[in-house]
Symmetry: C2
Subunit: 209 residues, 2 copies
């Protein structure tokens, strides 16, 4: 029976439509993870046909990489803003630990855990993941290097320490995701570990949690 009523068409400028599609994809990824990014899921979210999504996106792999990049970039900017509000290097490192472990970022944790896994089958995504990791590393290295100049920290390898700090925090977030536990209670202890890594006086990195 119900001879399908033809879907009303809304014709938009290519740039606008393309932006909408990326926005829809980003929303899907945020809510359901990167692996939920299918041609059809994005289309439904954007209120269009899967064919149109494909028309604007040469391949799904590319879209996934793009969305990953966008999401993480936004997070890095957020954290950058929070961190730069703190007065000195120890306070900044504390603020970094606080924000990254306050449990308000579970959606993003899902995104990059899936990103790590999926990157093994997608060159585009692998590239994106490596690129965003370097953003994080640069952000943290800046803080550590600044602390060294002040004399608050004393490591001779801020770059390496930065990698280690990120790895630690990411690992704890991923673990909490898998366990369904809260990351917050690890913040204080993580600050102690961070002091050892950057060579700061014990207790000099403040965390609020």
């Amino acid at each position: 029976m119900s001879s399908t009523v033809p879907r009303p068409r809304t014709r938009k400028a290519p740039a606008e439509r393309a932006a909408e599609i990326v926005a829809a994809a980003t929303a899907v990824a945020r809510e359901q993870g990167l692996s939920a990014l299918t041609l059809r899921a994005v289309a439904e979210r954007a209120g269009i046909t899967s064919g149109l999504v494909a028309h604007y996106q040469p391949s799904m792999d590319d879209l996934v990489a793009r969305v990953y990049t966008d999401l993480v970039e936004e997070e890095v900017r957020d954290v950058e803003r929070v961190v730069s509000a703190a007065p000195d290097a120890p306070a900044r490192l504390g603020a970094l630990i606080d924000t990254l472990m306050d449990g308000a970022r579970d959606e993003l944790t899902v995104v990059w855990v899936e990103g790590w896994a999926m990157a093994r089958r997608s060159d585009a995504l692998a590239l994106a993941v490596r690129g965003q990791m370097q953003r994080w590393q640069a952000l943290v290295e800046d803080i550590v290097a600044a602390g060294c100049r002040t004399g608050a920290f004393s490591t001779t390898e801020p770059g390496e320490v930065a990698w280690e700090l990120i790895g630690m925090i990411d690992g704890l977030n991923a673990q909490s995701l898998a366990r369904g536990a809260d990351t917050t209670r690890f913040a204080r202890r993580t600050a102690r570990a961070a002091e050892a890594l950057v060579g700061a006086r014990p207790g000099s990195i403040p965390v609020s949690a």
Copy 2:
């Protein structure tokens, strides 16, 4: 043309065949990751039909969970053996860090990164992941608690510290996997962080790397 030559049949005892299938699946997972565990991939590896794999495995989700459990359990036993060879708690913690970060476990890192990601869509796997995480935690907690009794460590929460140590190490391994970098160079620094966490004298946890 080529009327397909019928495949020769080898009839085996159910228990034997079942074991073969699990073994084949484990091999596939080790070499290509958990996400490569398909009915057909396992069948090809075992030299049988996909139908037979399905016959012995009620569902693929279960097989994945089973393989995950087997692989991680084997790793835990390996590490347990290595660790118990060390004379005291600090040496054991050092040995733990050494083995887990010597780069010889990349295949396993792939397995549990994928495990974390896939667990979100498979209850059976989620259960397995949580179970194996607790195994790890128990192993590490034992070491930390022993160190506390000796006086080498001084934390009042060995269980929590154990979770944190595991999270750290896992995160660093996952990061190295994604970056294509070597984890080994983080071992020494990780030992310093571990000392801060367990409350040990700086430099008291030995690492060989």
